[in-house]
Each structure stands twice: as structure tokens, then as C-alpha cells.
Symmetry: C2
Subunit: 435 residues, 2 copies
Amino acid sequence: MNKNETLHTNTENIRKNGKELENKLVNIKGWVWNKRSSGKIRFLILRDGKGFIQCVIDNPELFSIFDECTQESTCEIEGILKEDKRSPLGFEILTKTIKLIHKTIDYPITPKEHGTDFLLDHRHLWIRSRKQFAILRIRHSVKHYIREYLNQEGFIEFDSPIFTPSACEGTTTLFEVDYFGEKMYLSQSGQLYQEAGALSFKKVYCFGPTFRAEKSKTRRHLIEFWMVEPEVAFATLEDIIDISQKMISYVIQKVLENNTYELILLERNVEDLRKIVPPFYRITYSEAVDIIKQKGISFNFGDDFGAPEETAISENFDKPVIITHYPKNIKPFYMKIDPQNPEFVLNMDIIAPEGYGEIVGGSQREDDYQTLLNRMKEENIPIEDYQWYLDLRKYGSVPHSGFGLGIERFVAWICKLEHVRETIPFPRMLYRYKP
Amino acid sequence: MNKNETLHTNTENIRKNGKELENKLVNIKGWVWNKRSSGKIRFLILRDGKGFIQCVIDNPELFSIFDECTQESTCEIEGILKEDKRSPLGFEILTKTIKLIHKTIDYPITPKEHGTDFLLDHRHLWIRSRKQFAILRIRHSVKHYIREYLNQEGFIEFDSPIFTPSACEGTTTLFEVDYFGEKMYLSQSGQLYQEAGALSFKKVYCFGPTFRAEKSKTRRHLIEFWMVEPEVAFATLEDIIDISQKMISYVIQKVLENNTYELILLERNVEDLRKIVPPFYRITYSEAVDIIKQKGISFNFGDDFGAPEETAISENFDKPVIITHYPKNIKPFYMKIDPQNPEFVLNMDIIAPEGYGEIVGGSQREDDYQTLLNRMKEENIPIEDYQWYLDLRKYGSVPHSGFGLGIERFVAWICKLEHVRETIPFPRMLYRYKP
């Protein structure tokens, strides 16, 4: 390579290999994120889709092109890469040339404060901001490391269908679709199909969008959200508790290792995340009720926990807490009854710390044909529609267990966000479905 | 470890590390796939979700439990692992003990031939068969290696929404959903949202289910199918041709390397796949029309290619062929007009060999605001609904390009299947939506 040759690079590469590029002529394409002047020097912060870098301009001949480069204009900058210990990136560019590719006029999202509705209306542009950039890159990492963990453990991705013909838990929170004259529903969970998968492939997961037509407006709910649902044959409740806590810890430790830059941009206290290593805390439903009552919260034993109870419980713990053995009456028909205590089921929820609520729900599944059939009849589930599901207990039945983890809540916790809506590129909420 | 200790293992581990386990006592849990007798020896083929292994039983004391172990019964087998060069796995088990976990009676899918409708009705069990096992494991690999390739190239996964508020190409092939009183549609493509993503993150892709309400019954179409859609900022048509052919080759070469077992089970001729390395063949639309006409097929210049034309073209090539520069009138409004020849667009389709048809469609996108606006008006696209999309040309516009690859056709080609319906766990077709 010629000594003076320009190196086409990007901020991700600079973050990783900056030392090798130091004092060399580099070329970066991107967009003007921000600008400022200070005496005889101009500063242009370029975002290139991989990060943000400060370009220092001390040559007055460049000042007129600098002035042309409005916020979000597309441009190409060449200059010498210099160390800059104050920046999260560690480097800055001493600018030699600026080329304007496309001039932007009146970019709507200015550096001033904007209301959330305005930002959501401009979500296609809001994702260019530094905070959204960091969140959505962490979302990518979270999805990636979940798969990496599961694949290493011998799982295969086995897609559950989105169009599902029946609605076992009632249709009130389901979206209905006219499927060539037939009523079909958008999947709320791929679990039942994963059970068929587990009996074929031993360890499977689905990882796709799911849909809940819930008329609730909370900071923890989206109408369209992504969920990973692993299911394992020859596995008990204890086995999936083990897998789920290892998976959560693996992902968080990997994000800490590889998303340092994004966590700095978010000003996330990483010490709280470093603690997230197995084993998590373990309590039963009954013990959780005691905690709630000790806090003076009025609660009836046998009821399900809502957000306030989850928050109250999680305050006692600096790591996730796994709550097992809920009353069977508040849990779905497919959970296996606890043989030691038949009013309870072999299930578990994992409550995240810092008030992020339930991030995992799972259970051992009922694997006895007659027990499951009776339970379904008790709950008036249309047997005919679920004969295929019952078949899994008729042909090669086996103890099996699984869980689901909602990605958006997990990302909200890792990024410490107020609301899940920022954890997905284009959130779908009760009154929000554009752009 | 005690010399006689039992090693709990599975067939995937045996495939990879069989030599280390040879002559040792192993324990495998799984299901009876098939059985036979030959003189004083019994053979039980166990499937454990990771593969199939023959268990040889020469101890007459085990014959009664062998008889109990009907097809698809769940059981646990212990024995000594021995080399068996005739089996695709390379090993067999000399059985010491058999434990029956769950006895299956009258498993509906017997080793005899069944009709496709019967098999699709029993899809939850059909996936246990050897061929379906191999196909769906290859599907997993294909998805995995696509992401691996894109991640290595600096892409991030950026989820497009499934619920989309408008229908730019007409509603005839869209599924409509009542979204709390608003009409919404299930996504047919995440592309437009990926363009917003590319201008924020430079290289993005979505990889999720998409939906087409097409009333067609062909062996290449599904109602619900998975698509990967990469989109790149600062990229021309040539750039994405390069990315797409490298991605396809990468995935195929990785499958050849890591799914040998599955390809053997499918009896796939791997020599045809080894050839799939870049560069692929390149022709223009006009050259493709010449090929069709030379074959005596009646075709009007300016029409789009259907399955028969694609097959006719692909017969001339032993690798995929990339067809570029289609007439603009048969392509969507967002494709960039060829400045050299404004009746054509800067697009490309990739046609797979062996008659598998179009597996990739892509283009450079129109990046000039006024040109795109005019084109949308010409095609009566509701501008207001797409103002957000036009914004991408107003604020920081940049040459950008992308493509989509349908997973099911790609898997069908790799596995050399007659019909795409076997490439997805639970296919959704015109008259097929259960279980």
C-alpha cells in the first residue's frame, strides 16, 4: 500500500483497530450529526451508521463547505486519524477535505428537546439519534447472543407459524384474519408448535414476532413484539431454569464485552449488569406472597402478580429472581401439576431487577395424555382443534419443558429505559402504528 | 472418570466425536424409529432428535423389551459404541440395556408410503421422519449461515414491522387486519423500512415471516414464508450483486461442510452444489429474452418472466444466473431508473439452477426526491401515507441498494425438493392451514 493512500474505513473499524490507523489518512462516509465552532476551529460530528466521530476543521478554506454541511447532510470526509481520549470512540479526525454528497434542508429533529409523539411520528428519522442508535444495536446483539447461546447448546431454530387456526386461551387478545374465507389468528406464542418440534429435534426454539391485541397502554407492553421460545425434550423444570438463567447471563456478559461503546452512549451503570451471573435467586410463589405482604401490600393468596407486585418483589434482589410453583388455577392448562402439591404447577417466572418485571415465563409441560385431556375438558378447550397437540402425549411422550423470553423487555432492562417502545425499530402500540 | 461409567451422549456428538467414544459404554435417549429382526439378532433404529443410530441386540434376554418397543416409543438405550462404516453416522450401538419410557400404540405414520395430504394433516408427527429431519436441520443452517455472513460483513438485524398501515402495491394480495378499528395489513416485504434502517445503520437486514394472500397453488409458493432483506447505504446495484452472490455461496459452502449427514440422508448430489461459487453468470433482461426466443418459446419483449421462462433460462447455466436491467414498467416505483437507458431500471433477479426459479430480487433504489415523487404520482400511490419514505430522499439521501432472498425456495434448491412445503415446519398454503 502506498504510504499516502487513503484508507476507506468506518467508526466501528476505528473502535476496533484505531491504533493501526492512527496518524493515517482515512476516508469516512456518513451524515452530519452535529456541528459547532470554537474560535478559529470548527467541529463536525459525523455519524456513519457505525458510530459517531468528531472531525476537527482548522483549515479556513474548508469553512464554506463546513457551513454548507447542515444537520443530516450526507458527506464524505478525509483526514488524519488522531487519538482523542475524551471521546467514547477514542479517536478524532483532523479534516483535510469535505465532500458534500447531499444537502439536507430543515431536518425536523433538531438537537433541542422534542416530545415523544413528535419523535414517534418521525421514527424513521429518530432512529438516527445517538440514543436510538445505541439501543437498536444492543437489540441486535441481544438477538444474536441468544441464538449463539442456544446454538452452542445444540438447539435448532424451528419456526412456529404465525397463522394459527385455533385460539385455546380465548379470542379476546387475538388478532383475527380472514384467510381465504377461514378465520385464522395471529400467533401469541409459538410454544405448542415448539413442543412438536422438541419431540422431533430434542432442543428447538422459535424466535419471531408475536401479537397481542391488548387494549392496555403500559410502558411494558407492545402489540407486536419478539419472543424467543426454547423447548426441550427429556427436560424437567429444573433443567429449563438452568438453561434460562445461563442464557440470560451469557447474553448480558457478551453485551458488556462487545457493546461497551453503546453502553457508554446510554450512560448505563454497567456494575448492575456485571452482577447478572448464575445462580439467580429462587423463591416459590408462596414465598413471594410473603414478601408482598411484609411490604404491607394488600394481596390475596392465589391471585396472579401484576406489575406492582413484581416490582415490590424485585426490590429485594440485586439479581433476577426465579419464582416457581404458582397456583394451577391462574396458569394455563398445559403446565404440569406438581405431584407433591397438586394445587400448584411446575412453572417458573423470572423477574428482572431494577423494576423491569417478568422477562421469562416457563414450565414443565403436562406429558400424560389423560391428565392433559381432563384439564382441557375442564377448561372447555375445543379438543378437536388440539388433537394434534394431544397426539404429542400419545406418540412418544416424554417429560419436556420450555420457556419464553420477551426481547423488548430484556433490551429495556439492559439499556435501562423507561419504556419498551424504544427497543424495537417501529413500535406498534394501541394508538401508534405509523410510520 | 470411572472406566465403566456410562457416557450420556447423542448422535450429533457421536458424529463429531465418535472416535473418542468408540468401545465405551454410552447412553442415548430417544424414540424408536424402526426395527427389524435377522436370525438371532434384533435391530432397533433409534432417533434422538440429532440423528439416527442402529442399536444391535444379540442378548435374547432383551428380546421381550425389544418387542415392547413399538415405533415411536420413547426409550433409553445403553450399550457399547462400535464403528459401522455402512451407516451415514459411522457408528452403531451393541445394546446392553433398554429402558422403555413411554409405549406408543398405533403410530399413524408407518414405514409404508403415505399420501401428501395425510402427511400434511400429521405434520406435527411427519417432522420426525428422516427426510423432514434432514430438511429442517438444513433450514436451520441456512438461516444461521445467512446471519453469520451478514454479521461478519457488518450488518445488523433491524426488524421491520409486520403490521403495516398502507398498501403501496394494491391490497389484492394483502391480508387485512382490524387493528383496534383501523385497517392494517400484514407485511409482504420489510424493504421500505430497511431503507430507513440503512440510512441510520448503513448495513441492515430484516429476517422474518412475510405474508402473501395469493390464490395460487404452485410448488414454489407459500402464504407465509420467511425472507431475508439486506439493505445497504452508499451502495450501487453492483455492490449488492456482489453481496448477494457471496452470501449465497457462503451459505451453500457452509452447508456442504457442516450438514454432510443431512445431505447424505437426502441423497443430494453435492457436486452440483460445490460449483456454486462467485462469480455467477450475468445477463441483461434483453439477453434473457434472446435465450427464451432461441428456445422457440413465445414471449413479448417487455413482459415479466414467469416460472416457465425462468426454468428455460436457467437450463443454460450450471450456476445461478443474475438478470439485470428489466423494463421499468414491470418493476416497482422505488427502483432506480438506469441513467444510460431510462426505459430500464437498475435491478437484478437471481435465478437458481436446476429449475428452482427466482431466489433473489433486488435493486438500487431511487434516491432523488423529485424523481421518486413523480414516479409515485404516475402510479397513483397515496403520497401522504408514504411521506416518511420520501423523507429518506429529503434528509441525508444517499445511493442505496438492497435485495430479498426467500428462504423456502433457497432450502428447496439446496435439498433438491419438488415442493417448498417441506422446507418450513408448518406450511401455510391456500387450502392448508392446520395443524
